[in-house]
């Protein structure tokens, strides 16, 4: 478990872990850097057997979409051996390459 650096809009409270200049929800420029607890739940997931170029040696691998407690959906690599379940509580672990890892 680790803190997740991100950005928050002071106008509409939208949180994103991705760098942004204007708020992608309300277009406000009042963006501040914040640290998120990186906590959330599994929104949905899939296990990929037919990969894109560059991921051939990783199959099968699981990708999850996490609904952060701040409300934002993020795609991430699954960092556990056990199969995820929708609604399961998860925590941010690390950034591997440029991908978020949750388990």
């Amino acid at each position: 478990m680790a803190l997740l650096n991100g950005f928050k809009c002071e106008e509409c409270n939208y949180f994103t872990p991705y760098k942004t200049i204007l708020c992608p929800k309300c277009s406000s420029s009042k963006i501040v850097q914040v640290e998120s607890q990186g906590a959330g739940e599994i929104y949905t997931f899939t296990t990929i057997h037919v990969p894109p170029e560059g991921f051939e040696d990783k199959v099968p691998y699981t990708v999850v979409v996490v609904k952060l407690d701040e409300g934002t959906l993020v795609s991430a690599s699954w960092g556990s051996e056990t199969k995820p379940q929708i609604g399961q509580r998860v925590a941010f672990q690390e950034i591997a390459g440029s991908s978020f890892v949750f388990k």
Partner: protein, 386 residues
């Protein structure tokens, strides 16, 4: 804006078309459309070409001028449109605007894609370029992956069953049997689908559209001119485009595409119609779940009830609202940049009474073309010119 019509259509088969590059395919579809309209190429005042992956997969760009030159055209504007899998209808939309505004009288719109010359992982990566590479790309997510995740969530929220999702494939494969342009012309059974090996769980191969080559074209002119020149012209009641969410972090859920909802609102409003007026639909079933989600987002069924509608047979050829009588992307194929114009071609064929799966006297048809993960949607409503 003046009323505009389609005066000619053309399409190559959607399949693995050996020995033909993107320019060859676009030229073939264009010549068909010009012949159908009985219009000399020199009369065309502008060319709009939709394409997504030719640069990545074939190393060939500048398709517009190449295609125009091969048709004997010089000194006209040529514009390429890109909106991933909706590139074709975006080209059509530009043509509609150019004629409706009075800038041009006769324009050619063509969509094309050459995909089968590359291997599956390269094509998967090329298609995945329509995901936000800085976000979804880094965890190895693919298009089949995103739609599989949508399927899992739809099942979780609404109780949509695996069998209902598979029924999309069974229906569309059945519709494709009679379509001479379709890539897959054999039926598939529930048993075969449920027993197939996984692609992106819970999806198997039969949940995914094939990799295809193909091109489709349409010629647009003012309706007043169309009435004089042709007895089979098709009226463009509306063609509307909306962007939606281009990456997952922009989405508030994964069971609906706001791009479809918004484009549909605009398309119905411009045409002065509601869902009840539509006799049949060609929609963007790039994956099985997409047909269920699209049919709900277009307003034909309540959210969560698309699977049930399918189970009741409402969307069969003989149902209340036939969906994808052409076989859809799942059966007909999905040469991505050509698909939108391919759908428009199929709707025109139905309205002209010339379709291999001809419906009983349809008057108004709708084509729904989606790009990316719902990043952009283009909806066209067409009717016969009476």
């Amino acid at each position: 804006m003046r009323p505009v019509s389609i005066i000619g259509i053309g399409s190559t088969p959607f399949s693995k078309l050996e020995g033909k590059g993107p320019v060859d395919l676009a030229v073939e579809a264009s010549i068909q459309a010009l012949g159908d309209a009985e219009i000399h190429p020199k009369k065309i005042e502008a060319l709009y070409l939709g394409n997504f992956t030719s640069g990545i997969l074939t190393g060939q760009e500048i398709l517009g001028p190449l295609v125009a030159n091969r048709l004997g055209m010089r000194a006209i504007p040529s514009i390429k449109t890109e909106g991933a899998c909706s590139s074709g209808t975006l080209a059509f939309k530009e043509g509609v605007l150019a004629v409706a505004s009075g800038v041009h009288e006769l324009v050619l719109t063509v969509g094309v894609e050459k995909m089968t010359s590359a291997n599956t992982s390269k094509v998967t990566a090329a298609l995945a370029s329509a995901l936000d590479q800085s976000k979804e790309g880094s965890c190895g997510l693919t298009f089949p992956g995103v739609f599989a995740m949508m399927a899992r969530r739809h099942m979780h929220e609404f109780g949509t069953t695996r069998e209902q999702i598979a029924m999309v494939s069974i229906k569309n494969r059945k519709n494709g049997v009679k379509n001479p342009l379709a890539q897959f012309r054999a039926e598939v059974t529930m048993e075969k689908i449920l027993g197939a090996k996984p692609v992106t769980e819970p999806f198997v191969l039969y949940d995914c559209c094939p990799i295809s080559d193909g091109a489709a074209a349409a010629i647009i002119c003012p309706t007043e001119m169309a009435r004089k020149l042709s007895s089979k012209s098709i009226s463009i009641l509306s063609c509307e485009v909306s962007i939606g969410n281009a990456s997952i972090d922009m989405m508030s859920d994964m069971v609906s595409f706001p791009a479809t909802v918004e484009a549909a609102k605009k398309a119905f409003s411009t045409a002065g119609l509601s869902t009840k007026d539509i006799n049949f639909v060609e929609l963007h079933d790039c994956f099985t779940i997409a047909e269920i989600v699209d049919s709900e987002d277009l307003g034909f069924f309540e959210k969560g009830e698309g699977g049930l509608a399918l189970e009741k047979g409402l969307t069969q050829i003989n149902g209340k609202l036939p969906i994808n009588p052409s076989g859809g992307l799942l059966s007909k194929g999905h040469p991505v940049g050509a698909t939108g114009l391919g759908q428009i071609y199929e709707v025109c064929k139905q309205l002209r009474g010339e379709h291999p799966n001809q419906l009983d006297n349809p008057k108004i048809g709708l084509a729904h073309n989606l790009g990316g993960t719902g990043a952009v949607c283009a909806i066209t409503i067409l009717s016969r010119n009476l």
